[in-house]
């Protein structure tokens, strides 16, 4: 299958998966007892951040691979993944904020996980700003790769420092050690949405990388 047709197929696949996910969120999932309908935001919130983690992982991969191989396609991968990662991190923060207002009574609180996610967003917005301000493609790729690597190495350090500084968020539901306070069917719905978001991410990524290739040729 040619590349364009593949991308288009991926896009439609993502749309179908998102429809299934939405049907599960609103049709299958029951109304939560204490939080009410607002709990359904979780089905958007958790897959978004997991997708963002995937994106930032790819930024690191693209950055290291670029410095080692100096092939522009790795830089395109890092740049595209960073943009989409920032988008999904922003969705996570905004959706969490909309959930937090009725549930915790505040839009924002300086809790450990909120703060570390916000710092994550700031680091990669800085990365995108740097990219926007360097005109020469080769220098831009080198500088961005260094920032991408340092930013990724900093994630665990930021995580621990902010965690010791403060904690109020519920424990991680899908990844990480410790108990996941979630019934099996709920995890199933999150999983369906996670798959849908990952497909959507893959579609965005391939489109964005196409654009990056075209920009370079122009």
């Amino acid at each position: 299958m040619p590349r364009v047709a593949m991308t288009r197929f991926l896009g439609w696949l993502a749309v179908c998966a998102l429809i299934v996910g939405l049907a599960a969120d609103f049709g299958y999932a029951p109304r939560e007892m204490t939080q009410g309908n607002v709990q359904r935001i979780m089905y958007l919130h958790v897959p978004s951040i997991l997708t963002a983690y995937l994106a930032f992982g790819l930024v690191l991969l693209g950055s290291v691979a670029y410095l080692l191989s100096r092939r522009a396609s790795w830089d395109h991968l890092a740049a595209s993944a960073a943009e989409i990662g920032v988008l999904f991190t922003a969705i996570t923060i905004v959706s969490g904020s909309i959930w937090g207002r009725p549930t915790w009574g505040v839009w924002w609180t300086w809790d450990a996980r909120l703060t570390s996610t916000a710092v994550l967003l700031l680091v990669y917005v800085g990365y995108l700003l740097l990219r926007a301000m360097v005109d020469e493609p080769e220098a831009r790729a080198r500088y961005a790769a260094v920032v991408g690597i340092l930013g990724a190495a900093n994630i665990p350090i930021v995580h621990f420092s902010v965690y010791w500084w403060r904690a109020l968020h519920q424990p991680a539901a899908m990844l990480g050690p410790g108990r996941a306070p979630m019934p099996g069917w709920m995890k199933g719905i999150v999983l369906v949405n996670w798959i849908a978001f990952t497909l959507l991410f893959a579609y965005f990524l391939s489109r964005r990388m196409q654009i990056a290739r075209l920009e370079e040729q122009a």
Binding site: L67, V119, L122, V123, G126, L129, L130, M133, V134, E138, A139, R142, Y143, A145, V146, V147, I149, L150, G151, A153, N154, I157, V158, F160, S161, V162, W164, W165
Partner: protein, 225 residues
């Protein structure tokens, strides 16, 4: 020339230039003095309030001074094609990074000593018993600040929007250093032994190692072209 000698040569060159021109140091010392006044005006004359905010203010002052000072080390290399000279240095380019890092570290330590003395005088803080522990915290925090600052300073020195980009890149990366040093400074000023806050100390030391190692490994990619 072996690696360490090349690093020390860069350090010596920077210290000598700074001693003769006193460009960065004079401006930075004056800037920290100004900061002290600004903090005082922002918080008002209430001594208790100042004392509570003190660890945060101290590190905020250092980071602001770092934003001014660290970005400059590579900007001065742009004059008289010094940049080309540095790039022509034979051997591993990370020696240049280490030399610049040591120079920046020294500059920041001088600023810190002055800032601490000014804090003690103007805000009436009894630093005496906390001084040895505070010294350890300051040195560890400065390594982290200078390591990332030197790396990003080398990068942004070559860009048109460097005054804007340098803080935008450096500040998010300094979040762990700021959280750790403020917590440690708080603890030391309260007279707690460092053993009670050893997790912060380990985090700070770990962050220093990670930043310096990444700086050494990636510096040549910033320099070449």
């Amino acid at each position: 020339m072996p690696y360490t000698r090349r690093a020390l040569a860069v350090l010596w060159k920077d210290l000598l230039t700074e001693r003769r021109s006193k460009e960065s140091l004079n401006a930075l010392l004056f800037f920290t003095l100004l900061l002290l006044f600004i903090f005082q005006f922002a918080l008002g004359p209430d001594r208790d309030r100042l004392r509570v905010a003190l660890p945060g203010l101290l590190w905020l002052g250092l980071i602001l001074a770092g934003l001014l000072g660290l970005g400059r080390t590579f900007v001065i290399e742009r004059d008289n094609d010094c940049w080309e000279g540095l790039r022509l240095t034979p051997g591993d380019k990370s020696a240049i990074y280490l030399g610049k890092l040591l120079g920046n570290f020294t500059l920041m330590v001088v600023v810190e000593v002055l800032l601490l003395a000014l804090f003690a005088v103007f805000y009436d803080v009894a630093l005496g018993p906390a001084l040895p522990n505070l010294g350890i915290v300051l040195l560890l925090g400065t390594i982290g600040l200078a390591a990332v600052g030197t790396l990003f300073g080398a990068m942004t020195a070559q860009l048109r929007a460097r005054e804007l980009l340098f803080p935008v890149l450096l500040l998010p990366a300094q979040v762990p250093i700021l959280l750790a040093t403020v917590s440690l400074t708080e603890a030391t000023l309260l007279g707690q032994p460092l053993g009670e806050v050893s997790h912060w100390l380990k985090l700070l030391a770990g962050a220093d190692v990670v930043y310096v190692v990444i700086g050494i490994m990636t510096f040549e990619f910033i320099l070449d072209a």
